[in-house]
């Protein structure tokens, strides 16, 4: 079991409020991603759950028991660090087995469990090596092995893939997701990469300035962002925001349209007129950055190849069903 509940969790470092009251319910077995810009408090929130930092206020419940006064070792969680944090003087076997050794398990039981974990992660040939003799991806797998071998109530991941190169990152992303589904253990994963968040999460927590902006499934966040921040943060390229008359017509202070929901027509059609400033041709997609005069720069995405170039005039027609409306204070307006 690994149900984690946060109730009004606060954290201050001196006069600085890092977490301004977080409430969250994480269901057993789910994969929850904390995402947000740097400095938003996502790592701090994770460290509070881990017990590596003490809360200033509020309660953290693991399986219904408040653990704010429980030391990290007794919370039954395991953590994968951004820097891997492997013990440099121990072999892979020693690293993975360290937690079991601390728990006082018998030697052959430790060996059996370590070998099983190593087999899951394709680390068997490297068991006797030291961390410095491993590649980045292998070190990352050792760190994950160290986390899974203890069969914790939940895994905590602190930007574990950010030190890997792009190709390996995609591969590890899939491995971690698959492993989590296979084990069925609750996971909390911190990242600043919204693609990681969208692809891995059952539910995403979007954090900004120490506050939870929205908590929901990836598609909920994409389709029904709660406010301007979430709308702008989730989705790539970023959502286009238009204010002024076009927004007022829809009864909103700001309207937002995602680049993929703008229909691109040759000049003369309806919609927003503009000149292409930059056209990016990726083969699979075409991204147009359009200077739309008083509306500012708009981004449009076309699936497939579109032979338009910088300097061409286009008109962009928003899909009326996919227009997001926001009020003066940035909150979403629902119909």
């Amino acid at each position: 079991m690994g149900q984690i509940t946060l109730q009004g969790v606060q954290k201050s470092f001196g006069p600085v409020h890092i977490i301004k009251g977080a409430d969250l319910d994480i269901a057993d077995g789910s994969f929850v991603v904390f995402v947000g810009p740097s400095g938003c408090g996502k790592t701090t929130l994770l460290r509070l759950i881990a017990g590596l930092e003490d809360v200033t206020g509020g309660a953290i419940l693991i399986d219904g028991k408040n653990v704010v006064d429980t030391p990290p070792a007794k919370r039954g969680l395991s953590m994968v660090f951004q820097s891997y944090a492997l013990y440099p003087h121990m072999s892979v076997r020693g690293n993975i087995g360290f937690g079991l050794k601390m728990a006082g398990l018998a030697k052959d039981e430790i060996n059996r469990k370590v070998e099983a974990a190593a087999a899951t992660l394709n680390l068997t040939p490297y068991l006797e090596r030291k961390p410095r003799e491993l590649s980045g991806g292998q070190r990352q797998r050792v760190a994950i092995g160290r986390a899974i071998v203890r069969e914790p109530k939940a895994f905590l991941f602190d930007e574990p893939l950010s030190n890997l190169d792009a190709a390996l990152r995609v591969q590890m992303r899939i491995e971690v997701t698959r492993l989590q589904k296979q084990l069925g253990t609750t996971a909390i994963y911190v990242t600043h990469d919204q693609v990681e968040a969208m692809t891995m999460a059952d539910k995403i927590v979007v954090l900004n300035g120490g506050k939870i902006e929205q908590y929901g499934s990836p598609l909920q966040l994409y389709e029904r962002p709660a406010n301007l921040f979430v709308a702008g943060f989730i989705g790539s390229p970023k959502m286009n925001f238009v204010t002024g008359e076009s927004a007022a017509q829809k009864g909103a202070a700001t309207i937002g349209v995602r680049p993929e929901h703008l229909k691109i027509e040759r000049d003369g059609g309806g919609g927003w007129q503009g000149t292409i400033a930059v056209a990016e041709h990726l083969g699979s997609d075409t991204f147009l950055y359009v200077d739309a005069g008083p509306l500012g720069m708009l981004t449009a995405r076309y699936i497939g190849e579109l032979s338009l170039h910088a300097g061409d005039r286009v008109s962009l027609v928003p899909d009326p069903a996919r227009i997001h409306r926001f009020d003066q204070s940035g909150n979403a307006l629902r119909n």
Binding site: A50, L52, P71, P72, A73, K74, L77, S78, M79, F81, Q82, S83, A85, L86, Y87, P88, H89, F98, G99, M102, A103, R146, R150
Partner: protein, 276 residues
């Protein structure tokens, strides 16, 4: 841009390195050579470099005139004892400053170092009087104590920098893995800190072994280490270069051998953290 390492450059820099190495080593070599000369040859001008009458009579005289073993034992006890006590105090001190620093940690460190900036002679009289009233003059305990205090700032600083180099994440990982503070210390921190501890120990041993100010001023015979033994050959009846050299060679031999065998550790320790 990578520097080209042409053969010529390699040759020139090798010759240069050997030249400067020899220059630094020369006084020691000269001392060893002088110890095998007769008193007359030892201060002959022009000096003879290798072609002189080699003799070991100086060593025999030194052995006869003074008790080398007693002084060597004193040196071992004083240098070893002060180093061990300094480490015992410095490890927890450096530990707490490295792993739970406060606003004042930097100030404390600087204050500790500032004690090394004062010339020791400035406190010679008060220390001497204190030692006299406590009966610590010419006692091993007294010397262990003063050398320990003298080197403590350096030991703490060295250990502090080593401990600082140990990533916090690794200690936190151990904590997440269920290690108590004690086990974290035994299984994670100490093994990681051993290279740093070893080079601190070695350096402090050498510093304490060679320390001459306090040992000369606070000891005369019973507790006198090898520094006093050397000094006794540069005294009233005039300078005896050859015998002085023989005494000095005997005095530095043990620490030289120790240093030779541990030079890898020492170099690693002194350049620790300089290159990531």
């Amino acid at each position: 841009m990578a520097r080209k390492s042409t053969t010529r450059r390699v040759v020139v820099s090798t010759i240069g390195a050997w030249f400067f190495g020899f220059l630094i080593f020369f006084p020691i070599l000269w001392m060893v050579l002088a110890s095998f000369k007769t008193e007359l040859e030892a201060f002959a001008i022009p000096p003879s470099f290798l072609f002189f009458h080699w003799t070991t009579e100086n060593y025999a005289t030194v052995q006869e005139r003074s008790d080398y073993v007693l002084h060597a034992m004193n040196s071992i006890i004083i240098a070893g004892g002060s180093t061990l006590i300094a480490l015992l105090i410095a490890i927890p001190a450096a530990w707490s400053m490295a792993f739970s620093p406060t606003k004042r940690t930097k100030d404390i460190l600087l204050w500790m170092l500032s004690t090394k900036m004062m010339p020791p002679v400035g406190v010679l009289v008060p220390i001497y009087l204190i030692y006299k009233s406590f009966g610590l003059l010419d006692s091993r305990i007294g010397l262990v104590f003063i050398l320990c205090l003298g080197n403590l700032p350096i030991v703490i600083w060295m250990l502090f920098t080593y401990f600082k180099e140990i990533p916090r994440d690794i200690l936190e990982a151990a904590r997440m893995d269920g290690a108590t503070i004690g086990r974290e210390l035994v299984y994670v921190l100490t093994p990681m800190a051993i290279p740093g501890l070893a080079s601190t120990l070695l350096l402090n041993l050498i510093l304490a072994w060679n320390e001459a100010f306090w040992t000369l001023n606070l000891s005369t015979s019973n507790a006198a280490p090898l520094t006093t033994f050397i000094a006794s050959y540069s005294s009233p009846e005039g300078l005896f270069w050859a015998k002085l050299s023989a005494a000095s060679t005997l005095a530095i031999a043990p620490i030289l051998v120790l240093g030779w065998f541990s030079q890898k550790q020492l170099v690693r320790g002194l350049t620790f953290g300089a290159v990531k």
